[in-house]
Protein backbone atom coordinates (compact mmCIF):
# COMPACT_ATOMS: atom_id res chain seq x y z
CA UNK A 1 0.00 0.00 0.00
CA UNK A 2 1.23 3.49 -0.85
CA UNK A 3 2.44 5.30 2.24
CA UNK A 4 4.18 8.54 3.19
CA UNK A 5 5.76 9.04 6.61
CA UNK A 6 7.18 12.35 7.78
CA UNK A 7 9.51 12.94 10.70
CA UNK A 8 9.81 14.52 13.11
CA UNK A 9 6.17 15.44 13.82
CA UNK A 10 7.30 18.72 15.34
CA UNK A 11 10.59 20.61 15.33
CA UNK A 12 11.63 23.67 17.32
CA UNK A 13 14.66 25.59 16.09
CA UNK A 14 16.48 28.69 17.15
CA UNK A 15 16.78 31.30 14.42
CA UNK A 16 19.86 30.43 12.35
CA UNK A 17 19.93 26.79 13.49
CA UNK A 18 19.93 24.64 10.33
CA UNK A 19 18.14 21.28 10.23
CA UNK A 20 16.44 18.73 7.98
CA UNK A 21 12.94 17.30 7.67
CA UNK A 22 12.47 13.74 6.45
CA UNK A 23 9.85 12.20 4.17
CA UNK A 24 10.05 8.45 3.61
CA UNK A 25 7.73 6.85 1.08
CA UNK A 26 6.51 3.54 -0.27
CA UNK A 27 4.81 3.88 -3.63
CA UNK A 28 4.46 1.85 -6.80
CA UNK A 29 6.37 3.71 -9.47
CA UNK A 30 6.99 7.22 -8.19
CA UNK A 31 5.81 9.91 -10.59
CA UNK A 32 6.75 12.92 -8.54
CA UNK A 33 7.40 13.86 -4.91
CA UNK A 34 6.03 17.20 -3.84
CA UNK A 35 6.79 19.54 -0.94
CA UNK A 36 4.25 22.06 0.29
CA UNK A 37 4.26 24.64 3.06
CA UNK A 38 1.04 25.20 5.00
CA UNK A 39 0.31 28.05 7.40
CA UNK A 40 -2.41 27.54 10.06
CA UNK A 41 -5.92 27.60 8.59
CA UNK A 42 -4.68 28.11 5.02
CA UNK A 43 -4.19 25.99 1.94
CA UNK A 44 -0.85 24.33 1.15
CA UNK A 45 1.61 26.44 -0.83
CA UNK A 46 3.59 24.61 -3.51
CA UNK A 47 7.37 24.54 -2.97
CA UNK A 48 9.08 21.82 -5.05
CA UNK A 49 8.60 18.82 -7.30
CA UNK A 50 11.26 16.10 -7.50
CA UNK A 51 11.06 13.30 -10.05
CA UNK A 52 14.14 11.12 -9.83
CA UNK A 53 16.73 9.97 -7.29
CA UNK A 54 19.62 12.39 -7.02
CA UNK A 55 17.56 15.40 -8.02
CA UNK A 56 17.86 18.57 -5.91
CA UNK A 57 15.87 21.81 -5.92
CA UNK A 58 16.52 25.04 -4.00
CA UNK A 59 14.49 28.07 -3.05
CA UNK A 60 15.86 30.70 -0.70
CA UNK A 61 16.73 28.89 2.57
CA UNK A 62 15.12 25.61 1.47
CA UNK A 63 16.70 22.72 -0.40
CA UNK A 64 14.90 19.50 -1.27
CA UNK A 65 16.66 16.25 -2.17
CA UNK A 66 15.39 12.84 -3.28
CA UNK A 67 16.60 9.26 -2.98
CA UNK A 68 14.82 6.04 -3.96
CA UNK A 69 13.20 5.75 -0.53
CA UNK A 70 13.08 9.22 0.99
CA UNK A 71 13.29 12.95 0.54
CA UNK A 72 14.83 15.58 2.75
CA UNK A 73 13.92 19.22 3.11
CA UNK A 74 16.98 21.06 4.37
CA UNK A 75 16.45 24.43 6.03
CA UNK A 76 19.55 26.60 6.23
CA UNK A 77 19.72 29.44 8.77
CA UNK A 78 15.93 29.52 9.30
CA UNK A 79 14.04 32.66 10.24
CA UNK A 80 10.83 32.96 12.30
CA UNK A 81 8.84 33.47 9.09
CA UNK A 82 9.79 29.92 8.06
CA UNK A 83 7.54 28.63 10.85
CA UNK A 84 4.81 26.49 9.25
CA UNK A 85 3.79 22.89 8.66
CA UNK A 86 5.73 21.28 5.81
CA UNK A 87 3.84 18.60 3.90
CA UNK A 88 5.28 15.94 1.65
CA UNK A 89 3.18 14.17 -0.99
CA UNK A 90 3.80 11.51 -3.64
CA UNK A 91 2.10 10.67 -6.90
CA UNK A 92 2.10 7.13 -8.20
CA UNK A 93 2.80 5.98 -11.70
CA UNK A 94 0.51 6.66 -14.60
CA UNK A 95 -3.31 6.71 -14.60
CA UNK A 96 -3.57 8.74 -11.43
CA UNK A 97 -3.04 12.32 -10.34
CA UNK A 98 -4.00 11.58 -6.76
CA UNK A 99 -1.53 13.03 -4.25
CA UNK A 100 -0.84 10.92 -1.15
CA UNK A 101 0.18 13.17 1.72
CA UNK A 102 2.10 12.60 4.92
CA UNK A 103 0.87 14.15 8.14
CA UNK A 104 3.47 16.92 7.99
CA UNK A 105 6.23 18.34 10.16
CA UNK A 106 5.26 21.35 12.26
CA UNK A 107 8.26 23.70 12.34
CA UNK A 108 8.64 26.52 14.85
CA UNK A 109 11.59 28.92 14.58
CA UNK A 110 12.24 31.16 17.57
CA UNK A 111 14.18 34.45 17.43
Amino acid sequence: EDQVTQSPEALRLQEGESSSLNCSYTVSGLRGLFWYRQDPGKGPEFLFTLYSAGEEKEKERLKATLTKKESFLHITAPKPEDSATYLCAVRRSYNTDKLIFGTGTRLQVFP
Partner: protein
Amino acid sequence: DAGVTQSPTHLIKTRGQQVTLRCSPKSGHDTVSWYQQALGQGPQFIFQYYEEEERQRGNFPDRFSGHQFPNYSSELNVNALLLGDSALYLCASSLWSNEQFFGPGTRLTVL
Protein backbone atom coordinates in the same frame (compact mmCIF):
# COMPACT_ATOMS: atom_id res chain seq x y z
CA ASP B 1 -2.91 36.56 -11.94
CA ALA B 2 -5.54 35.26 -9.53
CA GLY B 3 -4.73 31.99 -7.87
CA VAL B 4 -7.22 29.33 -6.84
CA THR B 5 -10.22 30.80 -5.05
CA GLN B 6 -12.76 29.02 -2.86
CA SER B 7 -16.04 30.02 -1.28
CA PRO B 8 -17.29 30.29 1.31
CA THR B 9 -14.39 30.69 3.74
CA HIS B 10 -16.26 29.22 6.68
CA LEU B 11 -19.49 27.28 6.98
CA ILE B 12 -21.47 25.89 9.90
CA LYS B 13 -24.08 23.19 9.29
CA THR B 14 -26.01 20.70 11.39
CA ARG B 15 -26.06 16.92 11.01
CA GLY B 16 -28.17 15.68 8.12
CA GLN B 17 -27.95 18.90 6.12
CA GLN B 18 -26.41 19.29 2.69
CA VAL B 19 -23.59 21.65 1.70
CA THR B 20 -22.10 22.98 -1.54
CA LEU B 21 -18.55 24.31 -1.75
CA ARG B 22 -17.20 26.20 -4.75
CA CYS B 23 -13.82 26.52 -6.41
CA SER B 24 -12.41 28.63 -9.23
CA PRO B 25 -9.14 27.31 -10.64
CA LYS B 26 -6.00 29.27 -11.37
CA SER B 27 -6.07 30.98 -14.74
CA GLY B 28 -5.04 28.55 -17.50
CA HIS B 29 -5.73 25.41 -15.45
CA ASP B 30 -8.23 22.81 -16.62
CA THR B 31 -8.20 20.20 -13.85
CA VAL B 32 -9.66 20.47 -10.36
CA SER B 33 -9.04 18.11 -7.46
CA TRP B 34 -10.75 18.17 -4.05
CA TYR B 35 -9.17 17.14 -0.76
CA GLN B 36 -10.41 16.85 2.83
CA GLN B 37 -8.01 17.79 5.63
CA ALA B 38 -8.87 16.89 9.21
CA LEU B 39 -7.13 18.76 12.02
CA GLY B 40 -3.51 17.63 12.38
CA GLN B 41 -3.66 15.37 9.31
CA GLY B 42 -2.50 15.60 5.73
CA PRO B 43 -5.05 16.25 2.97
CA GLN B 44 -7.01 13.19 1.75
CA PHE B 45 -7.97 12.95 -1.93
CA ILE B 46 -11.72 13.03 -2.61
CA PHE B 47 -11.94 13.20 -6.40
CA GLN B 48 -10.69 14.96 -9.52
CA TYR B 49 -12.53 16.58 -12.41
CA TYR B 50 -11.29 17.08 -15.95
CA GLU B 51 -13.33 18.00 -19.03
CA GLU B 52 -16.44 18.15 -16.82
CA GLU B 53 -16.13 14.52 -15.80
CA GLU B 54 -15.02 12.80 -12.62
CA ARG B 55 -11.68 11.33 -13.61
CA GLN B 56 -10.68 9.62 -10.40
CA ARG B 57 -12.13 9.09 -6.94
CA GLY B 58 -10.65 8.43 -3.51
CA ASN B 59 -12.16 6.38 -0.67
CA PHE B 60 -15.12 8.62 0.07
CA PRO B 61 -18.79 7.58 0.15
CA ASP B 62 -21.35 8.55 -2.47
CA ARG B 63 -22.55 11.31 -0.16
CA PHE B 64 -19.65 13.26 -1.66
CA SER B 65 -20.32 14.36 -5.21
CA GLY B 66 -19.05 17.04 -7.50
CA HIS B 67 -19.35 18.88 -10.73
CA GLN B 68 -17.14 20.79 -13.12
CA PHE B 69 -18.49 23.56 -15.32
CA PRO B 70 -17.40 24.55 -18.86
CA ASN B 71 -15.33 27.41 -17.41
CA TYR B 72 -13.42 24.78 -15.35
CA SER B 73 -14.82 25.93 -12.00
CA SER B 74 -16.06 23.19 -9.73
CA GLU B 75 -18.43 22.38 -6.90
CA LEU B 76 -18.21 19.82 -4.11
CA ASN B 77 -21.51 18.64 -2.64
CA VAL B 78 -21.86 16.69 0.58
CA ASN B 79 -25.24 15.21 1.54
CA ALA B 80 -26.48 13.94 4.90
CA LEU B 81 -23.67 15.62 6.83
CA LEU B 82 -22.04 13.76 9.71
CA LEU B 83 -20.04 15.20 12.60
CA GLY B 84 -16.97 13.51 11.08
CA ASP B 85 -17.31 15.61 7.94
CA SER B 86 -16.01 18.63 9.87
CA ALA B 87 -12.72 19.53 8.19
CA LEU B 88 -10.90 21.95 5.92
CA TYR B 89 -11.92 21.28 2.32
CA LEU B 90 -9.24 22.12 -0.18
CA CYS B 91 -9.50 22.61 -3.90
CA ALA B 92 -6.40 22.25 -6.07
CA SER B 93 -6.08 23.13 -9.72
CA SER B 94 -3.57 22.01 -12.31
CA LEU B 95 -2.96 21.97 -16.02
CA TRP B 96 -3.60 18.32 -16.92
CA SER B 97 -1.17 16.27 -14.77
CA ASN B 98 1.23 18.98 -13.73
CA GLU B 99 1.75 20.45 -10.25
CA GLN B 100 -1.36 21.05 -8.17
CA PHE B 101 -1.89 24.50 -6.66
CA PHE B 102 -4.20 24.78 -3.68
CA GLY B 103 -6.78 27.35 -2.71
CA PRO B 104 -7.23 28.76 0.81
CA GLY B 105 -9.83 26.14 1.72
CA THR B 106 -13.32 26.14 3.19
CA ARG B 107 -13.59 25.35 6.90
CA LEU B 108 -16.75 23.24 7.42
CA THR B 109 -18.07 22.70 10.93
CA VAL B 110 -20.90 20.19 11.45
CA LEU B 111 -22.79 20.51 14.73
